[in-house]
Amino acid sequence: MPKTVTPEVAPDIAREEREKPRSGLEPGYLVICWDDPVNFMDYVTHVFQAVFGWPRRKAEVHMLQVHEQGKSVLTRESLEKAEHYVHQLQKYSLHATMERDE
């Protein structure tokens, strides 16, 4: 029985992903918290824990990044989720914005 060769037709996943139009549901927005000279460090840590459900250690790492580097990218999310997080952070009077992750 001759060995048959089945032609492999693999989908061009990379091209499909590149060509897929961005939508509001696609995770592509960065949630950024900016430094300010007024919020207590302990408060900022607490807010990160409350908003993202992070353990204290992770929240402290991001808090220190904000404090020492001027900002911290907290998460990358869909438009809808990024808006939600920015709104939550602003409710606590933190300076938060979102940017499209190009």
Binding site: N39, S93, T97
Partner: protein, 156 residues
């Protein structure tokens, strides 16, 4: 203000008699952060529609906070008089929400002081600035008491 005990979801604070009028006066100032300040949005990125939605949601939230604040402070079952002051019972959700309210007052007062960029704040005290400096310190005082209470619970 100090945490006396925590039972289930209820945190009982001791509020000394002299601190109650301070608490009521400082909370009465809410909201203080100007609605157009970057702390409340106005992101450089995002569309105008995104920003409008965020602004609307935030304005609605502030109105709701103002209503909730009035209800909470008038609730005599939550704030009972004792010999030396009051026992004030708050849930974890109340505390979380009060932190937002107090921080609005603290940050808003700082903004009204000209957003000084270092602590100790280099602010010239005058009739115009003293109320803001007072609010900022007082809001910070109560904020720290709440944060300490949450930490003592292991939740902070």
């Amino acid at each position: 203000m100090k945490l006396l005990k925590k039972h289930g979801d209820a945190f009982t604070f001791h509020l000394p008699a002299r601190e109650k009028p301070l608490l009521l006066t400082v909370l009465d100032r809410y909201p203080v952060v100007p609605a157009t300040h970057p702390f409340l949005g106005n992101s450089a990125a995002g569309t105008a529609v995104d920003q409008r939605l965020l602004d609307e949601a935030l304005a609605e939230q502030r109105q709701e906070n103002k209503r909730r604040l009035k209800t909470l402070l008038k609730d005599e079952r939550r704030m009972k008089q004792t010999v030396t002051g009051f026992h004030w019972v708050l849930t974890a959700a109340d505390i979380e929400w009060l932190l937002q309210v107090l921080n609005d007052i603290r940050i808003g007062s700082w903004i009204h002081l000209g957003s000084p960029d270092q602590d100790p704040w280099n602010v010239e005290l005058s009739e115009a600035t003293v109320p803001h400096a007072w609010s900022m310190e007082l809001a910070g005082f109560f904020e720290v008491a709440l944060l300490e209470a949450l930490k003592s619970d292991g939740a902070g």
